[in-house]
Symmetry: C2
Subunit: 210 residues, 2 copies
Amino acid sequence: MKSAKIPEATIIRLSVYSRYLHQLEKNGVITVSSGQIAQSVNGSSAQVRKDLAYFGEFGTRGVGYNVKDLNQQIVKILGLTKNWNAVIVGAGNLGSALGQYKGFQERGFNVLAVFDNDINKIGLTIGGVPIYPISRLADYVQEEDVQIGIIAVPADSAQDTVDLLVDSGIKGILNFAPCVIKTPDHVEVRNVDLAVNLELLTYNMALNGS
Amino acid sequence: MKSAKIPEATIIRLSVYSRYLHQLEKNGVITVSSGQIAQSVNGSSAQVRKDLAYFGEFGTRGVGYNVKDLNQQIVKILGLTKNWNAVIVGAGNLGSALGQYKGFQERGFNVLAVFDNDINKIGLTIGGVPIYPISRLADYVQEEDVQIGIIAVPADSAQDTVDLLVDSGIKGILNFAPCVIKTPDHVEVRNVDLAVNLELLTYNMALNGS
DNA sequence: TTCTATATGTTATAATTTTCACAAGAGGAG
DNA sequence: CTCCTCTTGTGAAAATTATAACATATAGAA
């Protein structure tokens, strides 16, 4: 692994490239050029090549990239060759939707369980994923080697949930709660903030004179 | 409105600042410093001041910012003083979760309706929001002055849905489908890609040696 | 073999964004 | 009034990221 610091935007784009390549692969396409990839993701060919160049040389000059090989490389870069175990905390609307979301499984993420403190929900399943009580969370994370916690609880209990996950030895957190959470440096966090996204949208819309 | 080009990252941070200020306001706090804001969002005080400086001078030297005033200013910057009407397309798990999500209403977004093509769902409601057939979408958008469309359909029908919304005169799209969509320049788009977020997380986790 | 067309990898340049450092304004104490 | 402390606003420097341009490698045709 070449260890310069890679822009986050590059990683995001790689993930999108990968999805496109996956689709090409299903359609039996063998070779693709940086220009084609760029077109499919509304980017520039130079940027596609630059993004890939951070990690090595994957193409053949004059020819392009082998779809399957390139996708394998990107999948490896993104850390998707190993299987990731995840749990969702919070079995409300959002937690339920995430529990049933097919996209995670497709990319190699195993959602093993959902945790909630509502007694009425314990024992039920969400799209086949069992709901357990929060009290079992810490033990479960350790026993089942869960690396990723997905926070789908209200903002005011998010930090407590995070602390619980961190103490259990979780390595990464995907936070859907609309708040900033604090974690130690060795725990990676990624925030998905629905309201923020809508507000960024309206800011741009207001600019464009709607 | 001062019209230099503002970084997207700045707008995102403003949105987060706003939420923090809203909370302070509820707690009766009158004044706040850039340092305090920075601490609450894991940023630097210089960045907070710089972000605000794009839009004007909102503070008092030696004192700080008036919580209520500053929040009002940010809300205005983000275009939240006007009321935004939105519809959700897709009444599956994600669409249902979004329909019931309280956070939108709190920030001034009205989710008026959900649209789906499943006959069995038409006429039902999601947290009080009615479900209508897709065939009514175009007329509804025009009649009710809907500016924002939220895409919660599968990837393979996302572009068709987008085209329909664009033709109906929608101004902004929040896309949850895991794909890149194409729109004319006058329509703003914001993608919320769950898989991409997870993959960015695992990339960073792999770096940190999990 | 040589020539042409094509598309990569890379270096140089430009643009953007963040960080730093400090001058300047505000308010309170003496 | 003057001094001292506090915190903003800002201009310059540093760091980061994107764009553009081109030299290099490949495949195929003649």
